[in-house]
């Protein structure tokens, strides 16, 4: 192999194209030029890059960096976009903020806006627990039915959304089902009897051998204070109605016994600090139209 950088005849006789001047065992390499259009695009993009460096923030300096001619910044850009969005929504948002929850439900225009905004916020924030359509899941209440743990009026829903349930918010809704079994308040036989009794309240079939009499007595002494003497529940403390067919955790006896043994107490986060007041209002209206009760 020999390399001859200064070949006296660099033009290839067959193609008329210049060669690189290198020669390997008599074979020469053609030096076909790059297509002109490609080459000019390359030069143009280099020029563009310099322009870009001047116009946009680019070069790091000692204690700062070049800000660019337009002073563009990603954070200012998004702040402006959000401000434009707020301005665009302002007329309806202000109308929503000024109107009471009941007025919103009576005004078709406000209602449809609140529902649309509420639906979007619901998908982002509430759907993971309560389901995409508010259908709920085990341990997470269905919002479509008429059964409400903490009352389903617009004001109640709004308060629940703002402060949460058993959340870190000092105004959160609180109310605890004690762990009757785990804390030794009831003996296993009593738990079993009261579980049968509780199931019988909603007309579920119970074992023929079930001691409903003991169950009723245990219920009266331990459960009636929160669930009411008839087991219809008290919404102020989130004690569920036991006489309906709706069971948050399941209606089989093992699940009911587990609930009495360990206690129950679902947590809903407080959205007051995370979502703005308008969004919470829209959410309250949206949830209320799903299955709310009363005014």
């Amino acid at each position: 192999m020999s390399i001859a950088p200064h070949d006296p005849s660099p033009i290839d006789a067959h193609t008329g194209t210049a060669t690189t001047g290198h020669e390997w065992d008599g074979i020469r390499e053609l030096n076909t030029p790059l297509p002109r259009w490609w080459l000019y695009m390359l030069y143009a993009s280099i020029v563009w890059a310099f322009g870009y460096m001047i116009v946009y923030p680019a070069v790091p300096l000692v204690s700062s960096y070049t800000k660019g001619l337009f002073g563009w910044s990603a954070r200012r850009a998004v702040a402006e976009e959000l401000a434009a969005l707020t301005a665009q929504r302002a007329p309806m948002v202000n109308a929503l903020a000024a109107a009471s929850l009941t007025e919103i439900e009576k005004d078709p225009k406000l209602l449809s806006f609140a529902r649309a905004q509420g639906k979007a916020a619901f998908g982002d924030n509430c759907a993971p627990c309560h389901g995409a359509g508010g259908g709920g899941a085990k341990a997470f209440p269905n919002l479509n039915d008429d059964d409400w743990l903490w009352a389903g009026t617009l004001e109640d829903i709004s308060a629940t959304l703002t402060h949460g349930i058993r959340s870190a918010d000092p105004q959160a809704r609180v109310g605890n089902m004690p762990a009757f079994g785990a804390d030794g308040l009831l003996k296993p036989a009593e738990v079993s009897a009261v579980a049968d009794y509780a199931r019988s309240l909603s007309g579920l079939a119970v074992d023929a051998k079930a001691d409903l009499k003991t169950g009723a007595k245990v219920f009266e002494e331990n459960c009636a204070a929160c669930h009411g003497p008839e087991g219809k529940g008290i919404q102020e403390i989130g004690a569920p109605n036991l006489t309906d067919q709706i069971w948050l955790y399941g209606s089989d006896k093992a699940t009911v016994v587990e609930g009495i043994n360990k206690g129950r107490g679902g947590v809903m986060p407080n959205w007051g600090g995370r979502l703005d007041a308008g969004t919470i209002k829209a959410l309250a209206v949206y949830v209320h139209t799903l299955g709310g009760s009363g005014g």
Partner: protein
């Protein structure tokens, strides 16, 4: 002989070629990366960002071990749709104690930068056990073993020592009390909770799991998830002071 013909030196000497390649590549790296270390404007000054508590750190280790970052990012970009969905865009200071950071680059699942306190502990437990129990359309795999596996945290103080070398302001007091703090944070009404909160402001101490007296891997992971993105109070944070 023009300058262009000098390339023959590189083409004929492999060592010189390698050195040349190294120099050219490092110019790109130095110009893009090095300024981030000395430019003060890179990391905003904010109140509230503290190092992870031992329990959160143990949870973070599990997050990394299980490869959560393969599908979840922790980086809300300064884009309108992301801010609308996830909340305030992420600040550099919010991940300044992350080694390695968990920004991620894939979002098969949602961004987790502000997932803290968004859902209840119970939801996180059920969701980790089997995501489809709570989100029917989820494609996330279940992690049922986390709630059954006791957390092995005997080396957590060593983790903290290493992070201290990397610049995380863990004090010797924090490192000494690592296991005490870890237990205090994982239980309701633990006697050590006050000392924990003193060392790590706003640390949330409670029983993250259902089983009393046992700290599981799921408890640690949930403690970590529940604090993500909650340290900076955006009611008092001044956006305009940190435009860039």
């Amino acid at each position: 002989m023009s300058l262009w013909n000098k390339h023959a030196i590189f083409e004929r000497n492999s060592i010189i070629l390698i050195l040349g390649v190294l120099i050219v590549i490092s110019i790109g790296g130095l110009v893009e990366v090095l300024p981030l270390f000395y430019l003060k404007s890179t990391i905003e000054k904010v109140d509230g960002v503290r190092p992870y508590t031992p329990l959160e750190l143990a949870g973070r280790n599990i997050y990394i071990r299980e490869g959560c970052y393969n599908c979840h990012s922790q980086m809300i970009r300064a884009l309108r749709d992301e801010v609308e969905r996830y909340g305030h865009y992420s600040l550099a200071s919010e991940s300044m104690y992350d080694h390695p950071f968990q920004w991620g680059s894939k979002r098969n699942g949602p961004d987790l930068a502000r997932v803290g306190n968004k859902y209840s502990d119970d939801w996180q437990r059920r969701h980790l056990h089997n995501p489809r129990d709570v989100v029917p359309g989820s494609i996330m795999p279940g992690y049922p073993w986390l709630a059954k596996t006791e957390l092995q945290a005997s080396r957590i103080s060593q983790d903290m020592s290493v992070l201290a070398i990397e610049g995380v302001p863990y004090t010797s007091e924090m490192i000494e009390n690592a296991n005490v703090d870890l237990k205090a944070q994982a239980a309701d009404d633990d006697a050590g909770a006050a000392a924990l909160v003193k060392r790590y402001p706003k640390a949330a101490a409670r029983a993250y799991g259902e089983e009393k007296g046992v700290v599981t891997e799921a408890d640690a992971l949930i403690a970590y998830l529940q604090m993500l993105g909650t340290q900076v109070d955006f009611k008092i944070y001044d956006d305009k002071a940190n435009l860039r």
